[in-house]
C-alpha cells in the first residue's frame, strides 16, 4: 500500500514547515505541501500545522491563521474526529484559536523567548500521535517559543486531567509557566494534538538532541496503516 500522505501547511511566516515535512518523510510517510490560501487538502490523510510566526503573529499568536482558507477545510474534518492534526508550537496556538483544543498560550512567565532541550513526559499514549510511546516515557525534545505558557480555566484543566487529555507534561517544572506543567493536549476524539515542544527537531541524531520526536510521526503512521508502530530509534 502507498505511503500515507501527510499535509504540512505553510502560512505566511511559517518557519518549521520544511522540518515538519522532513520528519514526516523520515517516519516513512509522504509530505504534501498545503498552502494557507487554498481551501484544498489535496486528499491528505493527516495534517501538521508547523511552528513559526504565522502572519507575523500580529494581533495574537494564531489569531489570524485560524481564518485562513485552508482552515475552513481542516477545522470541520478535525472536529469530527476524522482528520488527524498535529499542531506544533504556532500550530498549537492556531488549534487553540480555532477552538479545536481548549485553553490558550500566553507569553512565557520569564517574558523571554526560550530555546532549550527540554525533557517532557508522555501522559497520554492513546492518541493518534502518541500511540507508539508508553505512558510515563520521558522524551528530550527542543522547546523554542516566546508564548508557550499554557493557561485555561480551572474547569477545563480539571476536565483535561479527568479525561486524560494532557498528552505531555514538562518534567520537573514548566520553563514557561504553563499550568499543571502542560506541554501538550488532545481533543475528545484524540485525533487532534497540540504540542509546545518541537518533535520535528528531534528526528535525526546529527541535528537534534535525540531522536525521541520521531515517535509522534511513526505513531500517526501506525494509526493510519493499522500496523504496530516502529520504535523511534531511527536516525
Amino acid at each position: 500500500m502507498a505511503a500515507p500522505r501527510v499535509g504540512v501547511v505553510t502560512f505566511p511566516g511559517s518557519l518549521d514547515d520544511r522540518d515538519a515535512a522532513r520528519a514526516v518523510r523520515i517516519a516513512g510517510a509522504e509530505p504534501v505541501s498545503l498552502w494557507h490560501g487554498d481551501a484544498d487538502l489535496k486528499g491528505v490523510d493527516a495534517v501538521v500545522l508547523p511552528g513559526g510566526f504565522s502572519y507575523g503573529d500580529y494581533l495574537r499568536c494564531g489569531a489570524i491563521a485560524r481564518f485562513a482558507p485552508i482552515m475552513t477545510e481542516i477545522v470541520p474534518a478535525a472536529r469530527s474526529g476524522n482528520l488527524p492534526v498535529l499542531g506544533i508550537c504556532n500550530g498549537f496556538q492556531i488549534l487553540c484559536e480555532s477552538q479545536l483544543l481548549p485553553g490558550a498560550l500566553t507569553r512565557n512567565a520569564s517574558r523571554h523567548f526560550i530555546c532549550r532541550d527540554q525533557l517532557i513526559r508522555v501522559e497520554a499514549a492513546d492518541t493518534v500521535w502518541t500511540n507508539g510511546y508508553s505512558p510515563g516515557q520521558e522524551l528530550l525534545i527542543p522547546l523554542k517559543s516566546g508564548e508557550g505558557n499554557y493557561v485555561a480555566d480551572p474547569e477545563t484543566i480539571a476536565e483535561l486531567k479527568r479525561d486524560n487529555r494532557v498528552v505531555v507534561r514538562y518534567v520537573d517544572s514548566a520553563p514557561n509557566g504553563s499550568m499543571d506543567n502542560i506541554a501538550g493536549v488532545t481533543n475528545e476524539h484524540r485525533n487532534v494534538v497540540g504540542l509546545m515542544p518541537h518533535p520535528e527537531h528531534a528526528v535525526e541524531a546529527l541535528t537534534g538532541p535525540s531522536t525521541d520526536g520521531l515517535g509522534f510521526f511513526t505513531s500517526l503512521l501506525a494509526h493510519l496503516t493499522g500496523s504496530t508502530p516502529v520504535p523511534e530509534t531511527a536516525g
Binding site: P12, G13, L15, D16, R18, D19, R22, G51, G52, F53, Y55, G56, D57, Y58, S110, H112, F113, I114, C115, R116, P142, K144, G146, P175, H198, E200, H201, E204, L206, T207, G208
Partner: protein, 765 residues
C-alpha cells in the same frame, strides 16, 4: 507654461548657481561639495545633494578606510575558492559539489546604543538582505556583541534590548542562530558593538549581482513601502560621534518588521528559482540612493527613475527624504519586460508590494566617460541628473594622518609579569573560579537560549561549541563551520598582532570542529578616523589581517568598517571582529568541545605554552590590568595545529577538541568538563599558574581514546606540533596536580561559578 515647481530641479539649479546649500549639515566637507559642483558643472539639486551626501558618507564610501582595505585584494592569497570577491554585497566561496556559500558580518553599533531592540533587530535584517541579494538562501546568523561593564546600569538597558532585538527578528525570520560571542569592557559603555553575521547557501549558477544591465529592463522596487525611517541615518548616525544631543536622534533609528522580511526571503527564493531577475540589490544604508546608483554603476551606467512611483507610507515625504529613507525590508530588482508579469505574480503570492519605478537606459560614449547617467524625475520635472559611478564608486578617498599614540610605549612597558600571583593552591583555585565566572568568559546561555538554533533542521553545532556548523543541504553531508573572534584588549596593546590573534583564534575554532578554514570576513570597529592614533590602530590592524590571510591562504571576501565608536575624545579599544568560514566534507565527523563521560579518554595539550599574560583574562579579572605585550603570533604554528585538528577529526581520532583563548587552559579544561558533564585529572607540571592562565596562541586541548594515543602523538610529530599528555577524563571533579600541590574543583562547583553570573546580573531566564 506651467507654474514654477516648489521643489528643486535641475533647471532651477542651473538658473541659481549661487544658492547656498546645507551641505555641512549633511556631513559634507567644503572640498567634497566643490567636487560635486565640478562633476555636475553646476550646483547640485537638493535631491542630488542628498544622494552625494549619503553615498560619500564614511559609512557608504569607506573614504577613510579604502586605502587600507586595498591590501585585502593586493595580498590576496592564490585561491580558486573565491567565486565573487570584495566589492559585491557579500563574497561568495566555492565549498564543493556545485555549492557555494556567501557570508558577511556587519555592524549596527550606533543604532543599538540609541534604541537597543530596534537597532540590533535591523542589524540582523540588513545583513540577511545582503546575503539574499547574492542569490543565496540565508541559512544561519551569528552575532558578536560587546557591552560596557556587565554591572553598569546602562548595560541593564542595552544588553537585554539588543538580545531581544536579535531574538525577535532572527527567530521570526526562521534563521538558526548558531553562535557568536559576547564581551564586556568599560570602553564599550556608550559604544556597544553589535556585529551581525549571516551565511547563505546557493548553487554556483545562481549567483546574482548588483547590475542593472539590458537597456529597457524594468527597475522594480519591492518589499516595504517607504516611510520616514532613519532619514539621514547613514550619514548622521553612523558617521558622527555621540555627544549630548544623541538622545534627540531617536527617530532616525529604523524599525524592522521580520515577518515582512521572511516573506521577502521566500519571495526572492521563488523569483530566483524561476529566473526572473537580471540583477538585484538590497536597500540598506542610503536606501534608494544607494540601490539606484550602485545598480546603475554596476550595469550599463544608465537608469531613469520616476521617484513618484515609489510607494510611500507617508505621502508627505519629499524626494530628498525618499532618496535617504532607510525603511527596512526593501529590495530592488532589474527585470526583463517579458518576465515582469510573472515577477509581479510571485510578489503577489507572497503579499509583497512591488512597483516598477524606472528602467535601465543606454548611455552615449560621452555619458559613459563621465560615469554614466542616472536621471530621476518628480512630478514630471528632472530633479536628478548625475553620473552614478561618481556617487557609487568614485567617492572621496582620504589618506588620513597616522600617528602611533604617545602612550603606546608606556602601555607595552607595563608588563603583567610583575603582578602578584596566587601564593597558595587555595588562592589559585579561587582565581580559576573567578576567571571562569567573569562576564565575558562565563556561560552565555542567558543570551543564547533566547535564540532559535534548531529551525531549518541543519544545525550540527551551535553555541557554546567552538564554531557554529550547519549542513549546507539535506541531500549532502557537506557542512560549513563559522566562528567569529575579536579581542580589543590584545588589539589595544598591539593592533597588528592583536588582529592576527583574533584571526588565529577564529581559524583555530573552525579547525577544532574538524572544518578546513577557507575564507574570512571582518567587521572593523574603531574610534574616529580623524584621530591619527585611531588611524594608526586601523592601519596596523588591516595590515595584520591582510598579512595573516595571505600567510594562511584564506582570502578576505568582504566586510564592514565601523568608525566613530567613541564618546568625546575617548575611543573604544580597537576591535576588529574576524569571521572565519571553513568547510567539512562530512558533518558526521564534527568534533565538539565536550569531554566524553563514557569510556576512557586521555587529555592532551597541543602547542607551546609560554609565560604570556599581556591582555589576558587573568590580568583583567584578577587585577583590572591592561598592559604589556599580547601573546606572540606564529602563523606557521597555527597552520600546523590546524592540520592536526582537521586531520585528527577526519581520521576520527578526536573525542573532543577545544581551542585555548581567553582564560587559557583553566577555562578550556573547565568548559570541556562542563560540556561533557564529567571531570578530569591532569598534571600541570612545574608552574601551575603559567600553565593555567597563560594565553599563548596556537594551542588546543583534545581528548582521545587510549587506543588512539600513539596515532595522535604521531600526527603531532608529523606536523611539528608540540604535544603533552595532561591526564585522563573521568570522575566528578576537575583535578589538577602540579609539582608542589593539587587543586580539585567539583564539576558542580564549576557549573555554579560558570552559570550564575549572567542570571544574577540580568534576571532569571
Amino acid at each position: 507654461m506651467s507654474e514654477e515647481p516648489r521643489f528643486d530641479t535641475v533647471a532651477k539649479a542651473a538658473a541659481t548657481p549661487d544658492l547656498p546649500q546645507p551641505y555641512t549639515e549633511l556631513g559634507m566637507k567644503d572640498e567634497e561639495y566643490a567636487r560635486v559642483r565640478e562633476i555636475l558643472g553646476r550646483r547640485p539639486t537638493s535631491a542630488e545633494l542628498a544622494i552625494y551626501s549619503v553615498m560619500w558618507s564614511e559609512h557608504c564610501s569607506y573614504k577613510s578606510s579604502k586605502v587600507h582595505l586595498r591590501q585585502f585584494g593586493e595580498k590576496a592569497p592564490d585561491t580558486d575558492v573565491l567565486l565573487v570577491g570584495i566589492g559585491e554585497n557579500a563574497g561568495v566561496v566555492d565549498v564543493g559539489d556545485g555549492y557555494a556559500v556567501t557570508f558577511k558580518i556587519e555592524s549596527h553599533n550606533h543604532p543599538s546604543y540609541v534604541e537597543p531592540h530596534q537597532g540590533a533587530a535591523t542589524g540582523v535584517g540588513g545583513i540577511v538582505r545582503d546575503i539574499l541579494s547574492m542569490g543565496a538562501r540565508p541559512v544561519a546568523v551569528m552575532d558578536s556583541l560587546r557591552f560596557g561593564p556587565a554591572d553598569a546600569p546602562d548595560t541593564q538597558r542595552v544588553l537585554p534590548g539588543v538580545v531581544s532585538g536579535i531574538s525577535s527578528y532572527g527567530n521570526c525570520l526562521g534563521l538558526p542562530n548558531i553562535g557568536g560571542e559576547v564581551g564586556f569592557d568599560a570602553g564599550y559603555a556608550s559604544n556597544p558593538l553589535v556585529n551581525a553575521l549571516c551565511v547563505g547557501v546557493l548553487k554556483h549558477e545562481n549567483i546574482k549581482l548588483a547590475q542593472a544591465s539590458g537597456p529597457g529592463n524594468h527597475v522594480v522596487l519591492f518589499g516595504a513601502a517607504t516611510g520616514p525611517d532613519g532619514i539621514g541615518g547613514a550619514s548622521v548616525l553612523a558617521s558622527a560621534s555621540f555627544d549630548e544631543e544623541s538622545q534627540a536622534k531617536r527617530p532616525s533609528v529604523q524599525v524592522g518588521d521580520p515577518f515582512l522580511e521572511k516573506l521577502l526571503i521566500e519571495c526572492c527564493m521563488e523569483l530566483y528559482a524561476k529566473d526572473l531577475v537580471v540583477g538585484i540589490q538590497d536597500l540598506g544604508a542610503a536606501g534608494v540612493s544607494c540601490a539606484t546608483t550602485e545598480l546603475a554603476a554596476g550595469g550599463t551606467g544608465g537608469m531613469r527613475i520616476e521617484l513618484d512611483r515609489v510607494p510611500l507610507r507617508d505621502p508627505r515625504l519629499t524626494p530628498e527624504e525618499i532618496l535617504m529613507s532607510e525603511s527596512q525590508e526593501r529590495m530592488m530588482a532589474i527585470v526583463e519586460p517579458d518576465k515582469l508579469d510573472e515577477f509581479l505574480a510571485v510578489c503577489a503570492k507572497w503579499d509583497i508590494l512591488a512597483s516598477v519605478i524606472g528602467e535601465v537606459t543606454d548611455v552615449t560614449p560621452e555619458e559613459e566617460a563621465r560615469g554614466g547617467r542616472l536621471v530621476m524625475t518628480w512630478r514630471g520635472e528632472t530633479i536628478v541628473d548625475l553620473p552614478p559611478r561618481t556617487a557609487a564608486d568614485q567617492g572621496p578617498v582620504y589618506h588620513r594622518p597616522i600617528e602611533r599614540p604617545a602612550d603606546q610605549d608606556a602601555l607595552l612597558a607595563d608588563d603583567p609579569a610583575a603582578l602578584p600571583r596566587p601564593s597558595s593552591d587555595e588562592e589559585l583555585r579561587d582565581q580559576v573560579l573567578r576567571v571562569l565566572a567573569a562576564p565575558g568568559i562565563c556561560d552565555s546561555s542567558w543570551i543564547t537560549d533566547q535564540y532559535d538554533r534548531y529551525v531549518m533542521g541543519n544545525t550540527v553545532l551551535a553555541m557554546p561549541h567552538d564554531s557554529g556548523m550547519i549542513r549546507i543541504a539535506e541531500d549532502t553531508d557537506r557542512g560549513v563551520a563559522l566562528a567569529t573572534d575579536g579581542n580589543g584588549r590584545y588589539t589595544r596593546l598591539d593592533p597588528y598582532v592583536g588582529t592576527q590573534l583574533a584571526y588565529a583564534e577564529a581559524y583555530r575554532n573552525v579547525a577544532a570542529t574538524g572544518a578546513r578554514p577557507l575564507a574570512v570576513t571582518n567587521c572593523l570597529n574603531f574610534g574616529s578616523p580623524e584621530d591619527p592614533g585611531v588611524m594608526w590602530q586601523f592601519a596596523e590592524a588591516t595590515r595584520g589581517l591582510a598579512d595573516a590571510c595571505q600567510a594562511l591562504g584564506t582570502p578576505v571576501t568582504g566586510g564592514n568598517v565601523s568608525f566613530y565608536n567613541q564618546t568625546g575624545s575617548t575611543a573604544i579599544n580597537p576591535t576588529p571582529v574576524i569571521g572565519v568560514l571553513g568547510v567539512i566534507d562530512d558533518v558526521h565527523k564534527r568534533v565538539t568541545s565536550a569531554f566524553s563521560a563514557e569510556g576512557e579518554s586521555v587529555v592532551f595539550l597541543l602547542g607551546e605554552t609560554r609565560l604570556e599574560l599581556g591582555g589576558s583574562a587573568w590580568a583583567d579579572v584578577i587585577h583590572g590590568h591592561l598592559g604589556g605585550r599580547p601573546p606572540q603570533i606564529d602563523l606557521d604554528a597555527e597552520a600546523a595545529l590546524g592540520r592536526v585538528l582537521i586531520d585528527g577529526a577526519a581520521a576520527e581520532l578526536l573525542v573532543s577538541a577545544h581551542d585555548l583563548s581567553d582564560g587559557g587552559l583553566a577555562v578550556a579544561l573547565a568548559e570541556s568538563c562542563l560540556r561533557g558533564g564529567v571531570g578530569c585529572e591532569v598534571d600541570l607540571g612545574d608552574d601551575a599558574f603559567t600553565a593555567l592562565f597563560s594565553e599563548s596562541a596556537a594551542r588546543a586541548v583534545v581528548s582521545v581514546r587510549p587506543e588512539h594515543e600513539t596515532a595522535l602523538v604521531d600526527l603531532c610529530a608529523k606536523h611539528g606540533v608540540p604535544v603533552r599528555r595532561l591526564g585522563t577524563v573521568g570522575g566528578s571533579a576537575l583535578t589538577m596536580v602540579h609539582r608542589t600541590g593539587r587543586i580539585s574543583i567539583e564539576v558542580a562547583e564549576l557549573r555554579d561559578a560558570y552559570e550564575s553570573t549572567l542570571p544574577a546580573l540580568f534576571g532569571n531566564k
